[in-house]
């Protein structure tokens, strides 16, 4: 039924190069990762994460591979595994990684290389 039309029913969003579209499939895949990140909106949980990261990771039923992405601060990998970028910002905050640092890493650049591409890098 009308499968040739872009706005036809029940068609997943088309891909865009170098981009992850956070759809229901990604959201389901990253559900536990995002649940962990969401919990970091509570300052008590942020303290607990910082005090004993392994114990915190153990509470969210993550796979070994998912835990490893967090241990390695592999932000591109987290996005690929279904973490939503805005939920990842909470992970960034608790681990001392700013949006720009995460972005530079996802681009495969150093912080300095990335900042050099901006119009006015003091607006942070």
């Amino acid at each position: 039924m009308h499968r040739h039309r872009e706005r036809s029913l029940g068609i997943a969003v088309r891909t865009i190069p170098d981009t992850t579209i956070f759809d229901l499939r990604k959201s389901a895949q990253g559900y536990r990762l995002n649940k962990l990140c969401g919990s970091l909106c509570d300052p008590k949980n942020r303290d607990a994460f910082r005090q004993d990261e392994e114990a915190y990771l153990a509470k969210y039923n993550l796979s070994a591979a998912e835990k490893d992405l967090i241990r390695k601060r592999d932000f591109a990998g987290m996005i690929h595994a279904g973490m939503n970028i805005y939920w990842m910002l909470k992970m960034g905050s608790v681990t001392g990684n700013s949006l720009y640092r995460m972005g530079a890493q996802m681009r495969g650049e150093s912080d300095e290389q990335f900042l050099a591409t901006r119009n006015f890098k003091d607006a942070v």
Partner: protein, 279 residues
Amino acid sequence: MPSRVVGGIGLSHVPSVGVAYDRGKMQTPAWKPLADAYIPVRSWLKELAPDVAIVVYNDHGADFMFDKYPTFAIGAAERYGIADEGFGTRPLPEVRGNADFSFHLCESLIADEFDLTVCQEMAVEHGFLVPMNLCFEHAPDGWPVAAVPLQVNVIQHPLPTGRRCFKLGQAIRRAVSSYKEDLKVIVLGTGGMSHQLQGKRFGFMSETFDQLFLDELEKNPEKLAEMSHHELMEKAGAEAVELIMWHVMRGALSPKAKRVHRHYYAPMTTGMGLITFED
């Protein structure tokens, strides 16, 4: 006299603006161009003196999680708390609501076939608060305007279409004009403009796209609202799809609404747009 929509504002809601605001950095060279753009907007708002702001925004994982994620959610409370979105709670007064007005909006919009999730508790974060900071000066005990938060899913696809957002705006206009009290209502459409925050394409922006969007929002808003999510994300970055929330604002205005202010500033990773209309 019934209530009426007196104006609309399209504006970006970048979280770093909240940080700059809280740390008193809005007059530094990096932020002054943005702060200056809002000086005439704030004077204009003082003269318009709206009673209520309907703020169309998206939550970024502070109050809505993926266990249940509504497409459209509206606040129906007398007050809205300040959420901790993972970086601490900002030192801002809670936001005054207008529950009776919200109840009317819900009744009218749902009768008009917009099946909103109705929220009697809602805490707001940068998507809502940065636009409030830019447009209004708050006192220690509150804000000069009551607000109705209207949350839109612009994060977890499938998203509502741009056209649906525009029609929601039109329904909001009908709802406002059928409210018994004489309230002046301003509608804020927030988010965007061009930006992408993930993948190798992190940091992508397009001023060309953003300026065209501002042109078309003024001159051909219904046609602009037909743009697919795919086209928007391809031309302006995946996170630019937030711009569909500006269609809600534009749909709430009459065709004769006049554009008053326009500004654009893109220092880091987001094209920050500003456009105002008087109705």
